[in-house]
C-alpha cells in the first residue's frame, strides 16, 4: 500500500555486498554464506544462481567471469536491494545504485567531454571520483539507454513506486575540474576569481541542458512517476543559489506536470538557497535533518539551525513543495527507534505547518552502512512513519 501521508523512501545508494564488489571467483565461504543468508532473509529466489549445493553458482565459479555472468550478479544484487527496501516497508524503492560505481563517476562515464582525474576524500572513509572537463559536455546515447534500462528493471521487479535518481548539474560541475570552461573564460580576458566563477556558470548550465535534461526526459517518457536529482553540492557556494535554481529548472524543463520532480540536498546550509529556491520548479526536496542530532532521543534544539531555518523558509515563502525529512543518520551505526523517527516527523510537520507536505527518508544514501545496519534503520524508519500516521488517524 502506497502511503500519501509521510511517504517513505530511500535516497539512493545502499552498500554493495562483498559478493557484488568482487566480480571474479571463486568467492570465499564468508562471501557465499552472506549471499545465501541475505537471499533467504529477503526472499530472493535467485540466490540459488549465486550459490547452490551443486557448486555451480556464479560465486562458486573459479577464474574470470563472462560479461553476462557479471551482469547477472549485478542484477541479483539489485533484486536484493529492491527486496530489502520492500521488506522494510518503503513506499518508493529503487535499485540501491547497485549497477553504478558511485554518484559522480557513473554519470561522468556517460558524458562526452570528461576525462577521469582521480579519487578524492570527501570525509572519513568516503571518497569520490573527479573528472576533468576537456570539452563542452553532453550525454551519450549509451547514457540515456542506461538510465532507462535501470528504471525498467526496477519497475519490472517491484510493485512499489520506482524512483530513479540522477546526479545533478550543479554537483557534476562542482565536482569536476572545469579546465575547458576556465580556459575559454581566460581566453576572453577574464582572470582569477572572475574566470573561475564564469567557468562554473558555463559548466553548470551545460550539464543541465545537455546532460540532465535529456536523461530526465528519457525517464519521463519511459514512465517514471517521480524522478530525483541529487544535488549534495547545492549550497557549496551561497553566491550561486540563483545559478543552482536556474540549472534545476533547466534540467526539469518540459517535464509534464504529474511527474514528481524531486531534488535531494544534504549536509549544507539550505537556508542559503533562499530566496532563490522559491523560484525552483521542483515538487519535493529531500533533505538531511538528523546529522546534528543524537540518535537516542529527539530534541528539537539539536536540529541544525540552518536546517530548521530552511524548514521555516519553505513555509514563509509559501512554497507548495513537499519536504522529505531525513530522519535517519547515515553516518552512525546506532539505530534510531521508531519513536525517535516519529518525533522527528511530527516536529518537521509542525514547523512546516502541514503534515501533508512531509515525506520520510534517511539523511542521504545508506551506502556508508553495512546491510544489517541499513536494513534495521529502514525498518525503524518505516515503523516510525506508521506511528506518525497513527497520530493523524491513518493506519
Amino acid at each position: 500500500m502506497m502511503h500519501d501521508l509521510f511517504t517513505t523512501q530511500e535516497i539512493g545508494s545502499l552498500q554493495r555486498p562483498i559478493w557484488r564488489q568482487k566480480l571474479s571467483g571463486p568467492h570465499d565461504r564468508a562471501s557465499v554464506a552472506s549471499a545465501l543468508l541475505w537471499g533467504e532473509r529477503l526472499g530472493v529466489d535467485e540466490r540459488a544462481e549465486l550459490a547452490n549445493g551443486m557448486g555451480s553458482g556464479l560465486l562458486q565459479k573459479g577464474g574470470e567471469l563472462t560479461q553476462a555472468e557479471k551482469g547477472r550478479i549485478i542484477d541479483i544484487s539489485t533484486l536484493y536491494a529492491i527486496r530489502m527496501q520492500e521488506l522494510a516497508g518503503l513506499d518508493r524503492v529503487f535499485n540501491g545504485e547497485q549497477p553504478r560505481t558511485e554518484m559522480y563517476d557513473f554519470m561522468a562515464r556517460f558524458v562526452d567531454g570528461i576525462e577521469p582525474a582521480g579519487t578524492l576524500n570527501a570525509f572519513d572513509a568516503n571518497y569520490f571520483r573527479k573528472g576533468t572537463v576537456r570539452s563542452g559536455v553532453s550525454i551519450t546515447a549509451a547514457g540515456k539507454a542506461f538510465f532507462v534500462d535501470e528504471f525498467d528493471f526496477v519497475r519490472k521487479h517491484t510493485r512499489r513506486v520506482p524512483k530513479p535518481c540522477l546526479t545533478g548539474p550543479y554537483t557534476m560541475a562542482d565536482w569536476s575540474y572545469l579546465e575547458y570552461y576556465r580556459t575559454a573564460r581566460e581566453a576572453g580576458g577574464e582572470k582569477g576569481g572572475a574566470a573561475i566563477s564564469g567557468a562554473r556558470r558555463d559548466a553548470v548550465l551545460d550539464f543541465a541542458a545537455n546532460v540532465l535534461n535529456p536523461a530526465v526526459t528519457a525517464l519521463a517518457k519511459a514512465g517514471a512517476q517521480v524522478i530525483q536529482i541529487d544535488e549534495p553540492a547545492a549550497a557549496t557556494n551561497e553566491n550561486e543559489s540563483l545559478l543552482f535554481v536556474e540549472a534545476i529548472n533547466a534540467s526539469f524543463k518540459s517535464i509534464p506536470a504529474g511527474i514528481e520532480k524531486a531534488v535531494h540536498l544534504c549536509y549544507s546550509n539550505y537556508a542559503s538557497l533562499f530566496p532563490a529556491l522559491a523560484d525552483c520548479i521542483a515538487d519535493s526536496y529531500l533533505i538531511e535533518f538528523t546529522n546534528h542530532a543524537s540518535p537516542e532521543n529527539f530534541k528539537p534544539e539539536e536540529v541544525d539551525r540552518g536546517t530548521f531555518k530552511a524548514l521555516q523558509l519553505f513555509r514563509e515563502y509559501k512554497m507548495k513543495a513537499k519536504i522529505g525529512v531525513g530522519v535517519i543518520d547515515i553516518h552512525s551505526d546506532l539505530i534510531e527507534t521508531p519513536q525517535v523517527v516519529r518525533d522527528r516527523i511530527l516536529y518537521a510537520a509542525k514547523v512546516l505547518g502541514d503534515p501533508g507536505r512531509v515525506q520520510v527518508n534517511p539523511d542521504c544514501g545508506l551506502r556508508t552502512r553495512r546491510w544489517n545496519v541499513a536494513f534495521a534503520k529502514l525498518c525503524s524508519m518505516a515503523e516510525g512513519a506508521a506511528l506518525a500516521r497513527a497520530e493523524f488517524g491513518e493506519g
Binding site: 552498500q15 562483498i18 575540474y177 576556465r182 553540492a233 549550497a235 551505526d333 556508508t368
Partner: protein, 322 residues
C-alpha cells in the same frame, strides 16, 4: 629584485591520498581490511610525498592520516564533547569545508580547551629536523567549532592558541621547526560580506609563537592585499599569499611571504616558467623586505594524489632562478 631571497618551497596544508589508500580505507570501514592495512597504505603515500620535496624549506608528509584538520585536536585536547558512538562520527556532525565537496566533523566545545603538550606530536610523523605542521588559525578554529562553553570567540581562540603553544616544545623535539596556521575563514567570510575583523586577531596569532620555531599564517582564497594587515602586528614570521585567487599579487608587508603559486584546485601542472612568471610579477609589484617561500595556494587535498605529486615536483624544480 636582486634583494629578494628565496627561502625554498613548502606545502601549505593537508594532501590527498592515493587511489590505493582510498580503497583500503573504504575496505577498513566496511570491515574487509584492518587498521594496520590502512596505516601501511598511508605510510606508502607519505613516502611518495616526502620523496618529492628535495630542497624544500620545510618538510611535510601531508598529514595524511588526519581525517580533517580539526579532528586530532578535537579528539585529544580537553574541552571537546564526544558523541556516544565510538567511531569516526564520535567528534561531531558532518559539515561542509567551505566551498568544496569535502567535509569535516564539527567539534563541539563544552569545556575549557587545554592539553598535556604531547597530543599533537603523537599524531605527526618524524620526518627529520625541519618539518612543518599545519593547523587551523585561532580565529578560523573559533569559527569552525560549535561553542557551547565560551560564548566568546576571543577567549576560545586564546585557549586554543595557548594549547598549540603548549604543544610546541614536543613538536620541536620531533623535528618540527615551522607551524603554519591556515585560515580559510577570513577569505570565505569576506566573500560573503560578513567578515568583521576581530581586534584580537594578531594577538591570537602571537600567542602561538614559540621561540625556535618559525610561525606562518596563510589565507587561502582571500584577496591578499586585503587580509595581510590582519597579521602585520603579530609575531608571525611569514604570511601566505594566494597568488592564484588574488586578482593582484601586489602586497605590502614587513613579513616574509609564502607565495601560493600552484593551484590547489586545478589538475593543470604549473611549469617552472609559469611559477617564475608569477613570482616575478609578485616581486616587482610588492613592497616587502625580500624573503619568500613558494608553495601551493591551498592544501593539495582537492586534487588527486598523482596530480599533487606532480605539483610538488614542480615546486621542487623551481630553485629561485628567475
Amino acid at each position: 629584485m636582486s634583494d629578494h631571497k628565496f627561502l625554498g618551497a613548502m606545502l601549505s596544508g593537508l594532501a590527498s591520498r592515493s587511489n590505493a589508500t582510498a580503497r583500503v580505507h573504504r575496505a577498513f570501514r566496511d570491515g574487509y581490511a584492518t587498521e594496520s592495512d590502512f596505516k601501511s597504505a598511508i605510510g606508502d603515500d607519505e613516502k611518495e610525498i616526502v620523496a618529492r620535496q628535495d630542497g624544500f624549506a620545510y618538510l611535510s608528509a601531508g598529514q595524511l592520516d588526519w581525517l580533517d584538520i580539526l579532528r586530532p585536536i578535537a579528539r585529544s585536547f580537553r574541552g571537546f564533547a564526544s558523541r556516544r558512538s565510538a567511531g569516526e562520527d564520535s567528534v561531531g556532525p558532518v559539515t561542509r569545508w567551505f566551498r568544496t565537496n569535502t567535509f569535516y566533523r564539527k567539534p563541539l566545545v563544552n569545556g575549557r580547551i587545554d592539553c598535556e603538550g604531547g597530543e599533537l606530536s603523537d599524531v605527526v610523523p618524524a620526518l627529520g629536523s625541519n618539518s612543518v605542521i599545519f593547523l587551523p588559525s585561532p580565529y578560523s578554529f573559533s569559527r569552525l567549532v560549535e561553542d557551547r562553553f565560551y560564548n566568546d570567540g576571543r577567549e576560545l581562540a586564546k585557549d586554543y592558541a595557548g594549547a598549540i603553544a603548549k604543544s610546541a616544545p614536543r613538536l620541536y623535539e620531533k623535528g618540527y621547526r615551522c607551524v603554519l596556521l591556515v585560515d580559510h575563514t577570513v577569505g570565505y567570510e569576506r566573500s560573503r560580506g560578513c567578515f568583521d575583523a576581530p581586534e584580537w586577531y594578531a594577538e591570537s596569532i602571537s600567542a602561538v609563537k614559540h621561540d625556535g620555531m618559525v610561525l606562518g599564517v596563510s589565507f587561502p582564497l582571500a584577496e591578499a592585499a586585503a587580509v595581510l594587515p590582519l597579521v602585520e602586528q603579530s609575531r608571525a614570521d611569514f604570511v601566505g599569499v594566494d597568488a592564484i585567487f588574488s586578482n593582484s599579487v601586489a602586497v605590502e608587508t614587513k613579513k616574509d611571504v609564502m607565495l601560493g603559486v600552484v593551484d590547489g584546485a586545478s589538475t593543470g601542472i604549473e611549469s617552472i616558467g609559469t611559477i617564475g612568471s608569477t613570482v616575478r610579477e609578485f616581486l616587482s609589484g610588492s613592497d616587502f623586505p625580500g624573503r619568500y617561500y613558494i608553495g601551493p595556494n591551498d592544501r593539495l587535498y582537492d586534487v588527486p594524489f598523482e596530480t599533487a605529486l606532480r605539483k610538488i615536483e614542480g615546486l621542487a624544480a623551481f630553485k629561485g632562478a628567475l
